[in-house]
């Protein structure tokens, strides 16, 4: 029995009675109360045991998920949404980031004064005149994107830049037969940038420059083509017209000092001998139907081959694309070979020495990043390029294409940028405020290691892809 005293027992009993009364009262009031907020599912005709609870649980889960999709901040008051301001980091954008601020990198100009051994690792900007080769001829895709986000087009002077420029200076005055160079190296090592630097240097030194930044457009069937019985090749009228136009715009001053040695007579044109090449080009450009393009371009190029007054630089990026069968189709639906297309044939002949510039240089740059137009075996053989996989002597090599690789000399762009040069590249992006952190040395070291000294990876997958604080 209970150990409570009689008095306590009495109280306990009384409480028990009161409790039961209370409970009874609650039950009675529950029935009369309004229906609860949560909807209870009803079963019609009977449902398996446990199904009703499962269904209700599922409905609740769905309701919670629907509410979760609506962002929480829609329910916050405006005062809570204001960005906290600190003295070091005010809540407004710095002036430099405001549009129209006119921020640009303050870099020395690319030229003979900045192309010294001391300036290796120094970033230099290019002039922005309308006749600049980059503006006229355009740039390779990846370079174009990079210059779009940089406030000033610039590039870093490297050891290999000085080497290439030295080669150019040595080749001045001699035939292009002895100076046919191909820039090769790992993907992203800076071949296109180097070629662009060489083109810019040649322009500053008074060379006639013909720069093809994207030779792949000549073989991937993006330009119109038509068969020409006279030359027995497929002409590319529009491409030739545009090339002629660009050649004229970039070198009008020099072309107006050269004259035509033989008259040019076509269906539409009758140009006497002695006219300046500038006027010849203009005549070709005037014909907007593109038909005169190929003929006039060919004439101008022939004239540039023979003259020795000005050195001529023919620079072709995506050079390996000229060795692939094009995407054009002949009437039998066979792929047209590149040497059967007018413009690619021209460049292949310059590259192989079948056509030579009396005073000039031919430079090509390979593109390792294009998987559709990879570097072919013939070029790998000619330039002794390293291959990831063993190359079999039984793999077929096209003899005609091999013929076009004769006498090509390779200039290897180093796999890794030196730390000095990389520091220059780093400072470009740092000064252009592209970095997310102020711990510069840690960022530099770690991104150099991660990219293994590869400039493209360092910038695109390193500096611009990191969110480290």
């Amino acid at each position: 029995m209970s150990l409570l005293s009689s008095q306590h027992r009495h109280v306990a009993l009384a409480l028990a009675e009161a409790g039961s009364v209370l409970r009874a009262g609650q039950y009675r009031t529950a029935v009369t109360r309004a229906a609860p907020a949560q909807k209870q599912s009803q079963s019609i005709g009977g449902v398996k045991r446990g199904r009703k609870e499962k269904w209700e649980k599922k409905m609740n889960q769905e309701r919670a998920q629907r509410n979760r999709d609506i962002p929480k901040f829609t329910r916050y008051p405006e005062s809570k949404l204001q960005i906290p301001k600190t003295k070091e980091r005010p809540a407004i954008l710095p002036e430099v980031f405001q549009p129209g601020s006119g921020h640009s990198l303050d870099l020395p100009l690319f030229g003979p004064s900045t192309l010294t051994a001391k300036s290796v690792g120094q970033a230099t900007s290019f002039d922005t005149t309308q006749t600049n080769a980059a503006k006229v001829f355009g740039l390779p895709n990846k370079m174009h994107f990079e210059y779009r986000i940089l406030s000033t087009p610039c590039s870093v002077i490297r050891d290999v830049t000085l080497k290439a420029i030295h080669t150019l200076d040595k080749a001045k005055g001699s035939s292009s037969k002895d100076h046919r160079i191909v820039l090769h190296g790992r993907a992203g090592s800076g071949k296109s940038f180097l070629l662009h630097q060489v083109v810019q240097y040649a322009q500053t030194q008074g060379w006639v420059v013909l720069y093809i930044p994207r030779a792949v457009t000549l073989v991937n069937s993006t330009n119109s083509y038509t068969y020409d019985i006279r030359t027995q090749t497929y002409l590319q009228p529009r491409a030739s017209y545009l090339t002629l136009d660009k050649l004229y715009k970039a070198n009008s001053a020099l072309l107006s000092q050269l004259t035509l040695s033989r008259e040019l007579v076509t269906e539409k044109l009758n140009i006497p001998a002695g006219t300046t090449l500038a006027e010849v080009a203009q005549a070709g450009i005037k014909d907007k139907s593109f038909t005169s393009g190929p003929v006039v371009l060919e004439t101008v190029l022939k004239e540039l081959e023979t003259q020795t007054k000005f050195p001529v630089l023919v620079a072709v990026d995506d050079f390996q694309a000229l060795f692939h069968n094009s995407a054009y189709k002949d009437p039998f639906f066979q792929a047209i070979r590149p040497h059967h297309l007018s413009l690619p044939r021209t460049f292949l002949e310059f590259a192989s020495g079948q056509r030579t510039l009396a005073n000039g240089v031919f430079i090509g740059a390979l593109t390792e990043s294009d998987t559709a137009y990879a570097v072919p075996l013939e070029l790998k053989d000619a330039l002794n390029l390293e291959s990831r996989h063993p190359v079999s002597p039984y793999d077929k090599r096209d003899q005609v294409k091999l013929g076009y690789t004769e006498g090509l000399k390779g200039l290897k762009v180093p796999e890794r940028m030196s730390t000095n040069e990389m520091a220059g590249l780093f400072s470009v992006w740092k000064d252009d405020m592209a970095l997310t952190t102020d711990k510069y040395d840690e960022l530099f070291m770690s991104k150099y290691v991660e990219s293994d000294g590869n400039p493209r990876d360092f910038v695109w997958k390193g500096l611009l892809s990191t969110l480290s604080p």
């Binding site: 199904r51 499962k54 269904w55 599922k58 030196s418 730390t419 000095n420 840690e442 070291m445 770690s446 150099y448 290691v449 991660e450 990219s451 293994d452 000294g453 590869n454 990876d457 997958k461 390193g462 892809s465 990191t466 480290s468």
Partner: protein, 336 residues
């Protein structure tokens, strides 16, 4: 005279003389007796005369436990108890006993591993049942406690003598047993390279790390260029890091241990990865690099443990279960 009486007499005399007595202590005699008993064959009790049946005994038996079934066992136990008693007195004389609770708690652990029952059979010359074994180990544990106190206090004469007795009963596999479960220390080879293994999910990475050789500093020649900054090169399966791991996230995961340690540019890394996919292999490589850094710089071990870099990520792919579409995904609920 019996050995026991001899020992007791010596104990009294040594006690009278004081702790600095220059004579063999009772603990030394205990040790020699234990060894003798162990090596003695359990036969030929001394003092019996052969051939004389009814003649009285000439010499008393060597030990008081002669007439027991397990003479050697009881002898050894008695010796151990004597050793405990002697050690106790010695420590009391040195004022190390009784030890207050706080001092006893602060004693460093000196865990020992006693011989197994089978091994002790040779020492005691009897089959060691569990109860006998427990009796012996209880005595040995008490002796070990006294050793612990003496060793910590630095009284070398007492602690060495106790250890000489305790070591007779320690297992040969003591070091191996105490080191079980602990990480094997990484040793640098003749060229200063560390070899470590990292794992993540089902990938494994074998990592060799060697310090970058610093070029000789240039002389005081103004023409010489400044020495280039030493840089880490990481080769994975003989391929540069940027070619093997195209994703920036994987690359950052791999360089994180070097960044945390602040040692980018100090070591070159060569690794062979196997198994799994890109994330698993990058995690395994990071784990291997962390262990390699700890091998080269032991001071960074605590930091790396705090940063969970040396921890092998235990997350693995969960198995599919019956009644579920995948590990956790349930089949579509159908109302009817």
């Amino acid at each position: 005279m019996s050995l026991l009486r001899q020992c007791l007499r010596r104990a009294y005399t040594s006690a009278a003389a004081g702790p600095g007595a220059a004579r063999s202590s009772p603990l030394d005699t205990v040790r020699t007796t234990l060894l003798n008993n162990k090596n003695a064959s359990a036969s030929a009790p001394t003092g019996t005369s052969s051939g004389d049946r009814g003649s009285p005994r000439q010499t008393p038996p060597s030990s008081p436990s002669f007439y027991t079934t397990r003479a050697v066992f009881y002898d050894q136990v008695a010796q151990l108890e004597r050793a405990i008693s002697t050690a106790n007195h010695a420590l009391r004389r040195a004022q190390l006993l009784p030890l207050p609770a706080f001092a006893r708690e602060s004693l460093p652990s000196m865990q020992t591993v006693w011989k197994s029952k089978e091994e002790m059979t040779a020492d005691f010359q009897t089959k060691m049942t569990l109860s006998r074994y427990r009796k012996v180990t209880k005595l040995l544990n008490e002796l070990n406690e006294y050793y612990r106190i003496a060793e910590t206090a630095g009284v070398a004469d007492i602690s060495q003598k106790i250890y000489s007795i305790v070591s007779l009963f320690e297992s040969a596999k003591k070091d191996a047993y105490l080191a079980r479960g602990k990480r094997k220390p990484v040793v640098l080879d003749a060229y200063g390279r560390s070899y470590t293994v990292g794992k993540r999910k089902t990938s494994s990475a074998r990592v060799w790390m060697i310090p970058v050789q610093q070029p000789a500093p240039p002389a005081e020649d103004s023409k010489a260029k400044a020495a280039p900054i030493p840089m880490t090169t990481i080769l994975v399966n003989n391929i540069p890091l940027n070619e093997f791991f195209p994703l920036p996230a994987d690359r950052e995961r791999i360089t994180r241990p070097l960044k945390v340690a602040g040692l980018i540019g100090k070591y070159n890394v060569f690794a062979i990865t196997r198994g799994g996919g890109t994330t698993g292999q990058s995690g395994a490589l990071a784990h291997g690099i962390s262990k390699g850094i700890v091998a080269h710089e032991p001071d960074l071990e605590v930091l790396f443990r705090k940063a969970k870099l040396t921890r092998r990520d235990p997350r693995m792919v969960e198995r599919k279960k019956t009644g579920f579409a995948k590990a956790r995904k349930r089949y579509t609920w159908v109302k009817r």
